[in-house]
Amino acid sequence: MPALGADMEAGTLVEWLVKPGDRVKSGDVIVVVETQKGAIEVEIFQDGVLSNILVPVGERVPVGTVLAQIAGAPGAAPPRAEAVAVAAKPAAPPLVEAPPPRPAVAPPGQRIKVTPAARRRAAALNLGLATILKGTGVEGSIRLADVEAAASGAKLPPPPAKRGLDLSEMRKAIAAAMSRSKREIPHYYLTETVDLQAAWSWIERFNAEKPPIERILPAVLFLKAAALALREQPQLNGAYENGAFAPSSDIHIGWAVSLRSGGLIAPAILDADKNIARPIDGGHARPRRTRQAREFTKLGTHVAHDHRHERR
């Protein structure tokens, strides 16, 4: 379970997009995880064959938990499946040891034999086939009766997590992060008055010749100015990690965007010093998609906010 935000402590599995036996390659989105900031697609950073899913849909697990195991590329197949924390940061050691593979689970790369009726029934019951330890059919294949037996005996997984954005959860996450920030980080405040007449005049001239879609909002100038200032003040661009400041060579500005009906996200504008984009394109409009690409939640190396931009 990767940390999909600095304040994320746990996530709930919403959907597996791959199944045991599937070949995966670095960059594939393999699982959808529900966090307090919405459902997020998680990539894998390794090639191989998915041998074992360890966390079923609906389960909430702490950051660092091993979600699945993949076997190495063919030819270099290790005798045992290597446990990997999918897309987890190297700095975050698994909080939970991977449970040893269950003995009756199909070995890596081998499909679980199952009759179509059993597969349908298992899906209807939201029951992972890997959780059915023993098939009683031909060559150990899983039959309908095995599914029923497993369903009556096994504790059913909780219903799938609520999908999409849960705004009250998001408010809780923001409140927790802000309280912690105020409590643990010394704050100081600097103010500076800048004459913006030249900037305003420039924007007026720029926009006057443009169709509406290409016009820019004044906030874009603040972003660009912040990004250029960070080039000169690299000590303000980065993050504290493991007790030390780690400067970033790239300038990604987290831009606080208030969501309609409450809530807040801070998507990072990547390489803001080099490519400030037009303000009125899809990337900047208030997001309504609730399933976010992971890139969208990438942490900024600096955060900027335009209070004037808020509704009055």
Partner: protein
């Protein structure tokens, strides 16, 4: 387009930006930004949507004439008749 049609179009485009907006609450003299909770980005998107739909590129200096529903209706009526 009649004033009624223009007014309905504006409200339709606002609904696209603010799905929870209730068009029934808007009176002609109200500031759209307040009634429908539009920030400057939302308002810019409304201008873009108007341009896409009826091909009127409203200059930035005229934005303040469209802050109210009545003002926006009148402005677009005049622009369409030119």
């Amino acid at each position: 387009m009649t004033d009624t049609e223009i007014r309905a179009l504006i409200l339709e485009l606002i609904r696209d930006i603010a799905p929870e907006a209730d068009p029934a609450v808007a009176r002609d003299q109200d500031d759209l930004r307040e009634v429908f909770d539009l920030d400057s980005m939302d308002f810019a998107n409304l201008i873009v949507a108007i341009h896409d739909r009826i091909k009127i590129a409203i200059p930035e200096v005229d934005y303040n004439k469209l802050f109210t529903l009545g003002g926006a209706t009148a402005y677009l009526r005049d622009a369409l008749s030119q």
